[in-house]
Subunit: 335 residues, 2 copies
DNA sequence: TATTGTCTTGGAAACGTTTACATTTTTCAG
DNA sequence: CTGAAAAATGTAAACGTTTCCAAGACAATA
């Protein structure tokens, strides 16, 4: 059943049928009604390949997600999907490898799929600086600011990483902690790690705490295992500490496990903080105190920004969504 | 840059270029080489819309995932995606609503996207029985057996749900438990819940334990919150129990939280078992004892089955993948 | 009535492939 | 050499839309 059959069946021409199906003007009420009914009755289904071939652009939103191993992205994706479902623009997700250049990959995918717009979940500033110009579609970089980049089809939505780390450290300081350990991902490859680390340093300075280099642990990634090993390594350094800040929730959970395995209780012996606000933070015992980046907010704003760029051809915009500190059970006032 | 440009550029005809690009025979080595190089150099990208329009079928694998809220499916999807990445058949994922009919949705999606094959993540036997015939593509139903259904384009890969539940109960019994609580999702809407419940009953019978109806709690879903409320409700019934079996890991984790909140220690006061073998079971304190459905296995086998059906037009096949019991910290011998 | 403009419709050319068929070239047995 | 089969290549028609342009119908204006 094609548009042609529909035309033959109703006695109208191809052009008219197409106009009806696309809700275009210049069609009489009568024609619209007849054709719509015929389409309904025959279970007509438009061939999107033909449509896209002709129009030279697809109808979907493409999400490019760096690595499978990021729980925050998982939650974000779920939230984005929920918002987009049922709408006119289906979501396509492509996972790419950790050490692949996401922008280069994007230009390839854009050429092939011709999406209306693309959402980058995670991404490295440097890669954008180098390879972005080849992309014509509006894009938004989520969870990482692109404010320093000046491409007028690149927007971004992120939380203030510096502030987030600051809030975490300040919270620990307010609870009386002075010897605070920091663990995070690679500051060389991750913008987030770099910014959060800066936040930590600023917080320490503002609180007049001299930060012991020995209490800093930089690992390659933000995973559970990385957190576990980091905490373990820190314990082996034999420096006393009463609190630990991990730059991601899963890392914090790994760290808690390592502390437990070493006979330390959380929060009695060591207070632990995470950053992200994942659902699983609620599952752990004790519940994880963390700095929350609201996933719903992030999803909502990034989609909204993308929509703006697509519809109005409005230009780039860089948003910061608010973060909140959620104090739960893994931190306590120092004894 | 189209195939036509490539033809003009190399001096060959459209047909020859197309044959080269599709690795078809009847092309001279020389032509193949020249054309391939030209394609490489010019960064040529085939227009998949044109291709699919002509061929009348797409090239992708479609995964239809029932509900966003299933961690097992998330892990499965990651594993499937990893296997499929880089191959000739991209994966498209569509999440559908909990109470939508997945098969009806599938026929719609198949009409539109014309995938090579479809993977159902979760699904209700009844829906298949009713609406499946309209689907022409090979399909495989994952994590739920379709052995009772006789469509020769429907295969399935699952673990033995009855056995899984049996193993869990037996393990608890072997640890000396007699008063065992069972919580699970709706047996009316979920095949898994029904089968696992049957497994429990059989295990109890085989172990000569009379199962107290008051120790059974059927909730609507398999979530953390459902687990939490179920455990809470069971505690309020004031029946003594020393062990709890939840039909999913997240439920078990919710139950542990409820027990903790009520002042019960796990595993000292109550042993808790889950079923699934999710990664997050490792994150909890105590680590969750569970019956593991190997995600890698499930992914591997389902993809293999689908591939067979697509390539050889081989017919339906129903596989059971082995499960294993992973004893960790949330269960212990009764005191 | 003649002229203009607006609304509705029909017709046909694209979009970039694949593929069946036609044609040319090569190979090789007799 | 000849002729025929096989291999390589070219040609053109599809696939199902959208969209531009032309044309017809009708009303309003001069």
């Amino acid at each position: 059943m094609t548009i042609k059959d529909l035309a033959a069946q109703t006695g109208y021409s191809l052009g008219t049928v197409s106009r009806v199906l696309n809700h275009q003007p210049h069609v009489s009420e009568q024609a619209r009604e007849i054709i719509l009914r015929a389409a309904e009755e025959s279970g007509f289904q438009l061939n999107s390949n033909a449509k896209q071939l002709k129009q030279q652009h697809g109808t979907s939103i493409l999400a490019i997600c760096k690595s499978h191993q990021n729980e925050l992205f998982d939650e974000l994706l779920v939230s984005i999907q929920a918002r987009i479902a049922g709408g006119p623009h289906p979501l396509t997700v492509d996972y790419i490898d950790e050490n692949e250049n996401e922008v280069q990959r994007a230009v390839q995918l854009c050429r092939e799929k011709k999406p209306l717009g693309v959402l980058f979940l995670g991404g490295n500033q440097e890669n954008f600086r180098k390879d972005f110009p080849k992309i014509e579609q509006p894009c938004v970089l989520v969870t990482s600011s692109a404010a320093e980049l000046s491409f007028d089809n690149l927007s971004s939505v992120s939380s203030d990483d510096v502030l987030a780390a600051k809030m975490a450290i300040r919270h620990l300081v307010e609870l009386g902690h002075r010897k605070i350990v920091v663990i995070g991902g690679s500051r060389q490859t991750s913008d987030a790690a770099r910014l959060r680390y800066r936040g930590c340093l600023e917080a320490f300075r503002e609180c007049d705490i001299s930060f012991d280099e020995e209490l800093d642990y930089e690992t390659s990634r933000f995973t559970y295992l990385a957190g576990y090993h980091a905490a373990q390594a820190l314990l082996e350094r034999n420096r006393a500490f009463t609190a630990l800040f991990a730059m991601s929730d899963v890392m914090a959970i790994g760290a808690i496990r390592a502390l437990n395995d070493a006979g330390k209780r959380v929060p009695e012996d060591v207070s632990v903080m995470g950053l992200d606000g994942l659902t699983i933070g609620e599952y752990t015992v004790p519940r994880l105190t963390t700095v929350v980046q609201d996933v719903e907010d992030l999803a909502e704003r990034s989609l909204e920004l993308l929509r703006c760029c697509i519809e109005d051809r409005g230009s780039a915009c860089h948003e910061i969504v608010p973060i909140t500190l959620q104090s739960k059970e893994s931190t306590q006032r120092i004894r």
